[in-house]
């Protein structure tokens, strides 16, 4: 699946997008965050406060317990500050 990162999540991880294949045991958005956090210091820093992180699956906002099965694109970003 494709992952996208925005704003300070993108800056902390150091990339705007990548393709990952998490193990089958990773079933939800919050499990994906935990799995990503274990990849490196940069990911751990980006996701150090997982409750602050917002997620979207295929361009729609989702909650941390949302299932990731079948997702084409998952995005992680801070609370939005547009308008």
């Amino acid at each position: 699946m494709k992952l996208k990162y925005f704003a300070w999540v993108r800056e902390r991880i150091g990339t705007a997008e990548e393709t990952v294949e998490p193990p089958a045991s990773v079933r939800t958005v919050e499990e994906l965050i935990a799995w990503l956090s274990g990849r490196s210091e940069a990911y751990a820093y980006a996701f150090e406060k997982p409750k602050v992180i917002r997620a979207a699956i295929d361009h729609a906002h989702v909650r941390p317990d949302a299932a990731i099965a079948g997702a084409r694109e998952i995005a992680f970003f801070p609370p939005m500050t547009g308008g």
Binding site: F6, A7, H59, M80, T81, G82, G83
Partner: protein, 155 residues
């Protein structure tokens, strides 16, 4: 909804009068147009800002705004909606965002514009980075914006 819906995300500035005219041109059924312009302030919490840089999530931003326009048109009898959100670097005094709503009567136009603006702030995927003498930093979300959006879900 009997009128046009326009959603644009662009780096260039927009002309408010031109956008309003575009919604009402050739129509005699519209009795009310409300427009809201969001403008870049030169200071935030008494700190001087030299510029904002707006980042967005291409694709999702348009879709998310579209979902809220759909909800607005189901809640109010609207005859046209235009939403423009700028991205890139914006300096104090420049436009950031425009919401224009058209309806037969003013109440629907006022309420729909406020509803759309409240959701643009809290759920459309845009992020502001501030430049000041102290350096650059991402703007933090305000609880007051979440509260403003939440009131539309109360009965």
């Amino acid at each position: 909804m009997t009128g046009p819906v326009t959603i644009r995300i662009q780096e260039t500035d927009f002309d408010v009068a031109h956008e309003i005219a575009g919604l009402t041109k050739g129509r005699t059924d519209i009795g009310a147009v409300v427009s809201f312009s969001g403008i870049c302030r030169g200071d935030e919490d008494s700190a001087r800002i030299s510029a904002l840089t707006l980042e967005h999530y291409p694709g999702m931003a348009e879709e998310e705004i579209g979902r809220h326009v759909d909800e607005a048109t189901s809640r109010w009898p609207l005859d046209g909606v235009t939403i423009i959100h700028r991205v890139g670097r914006i300096t104090p005094g420049e436009n950031i965002v425009l919401v224009v709503t058209a309806s037969q009567h003013r109440q629907a136009a006022f309420e729909a514009a406020e509803f759309l603006m409240d959701y643009l702030k809290t759920s459309a995927p845009f992020w502001k980075k501030e430049e000041s003498a102290a350096g650059t930093g991402w703007v933090e979300a305000h609880a007051r914006d979440d509260e403003a959006a939440a009131r539309w879900t109360k009965s």
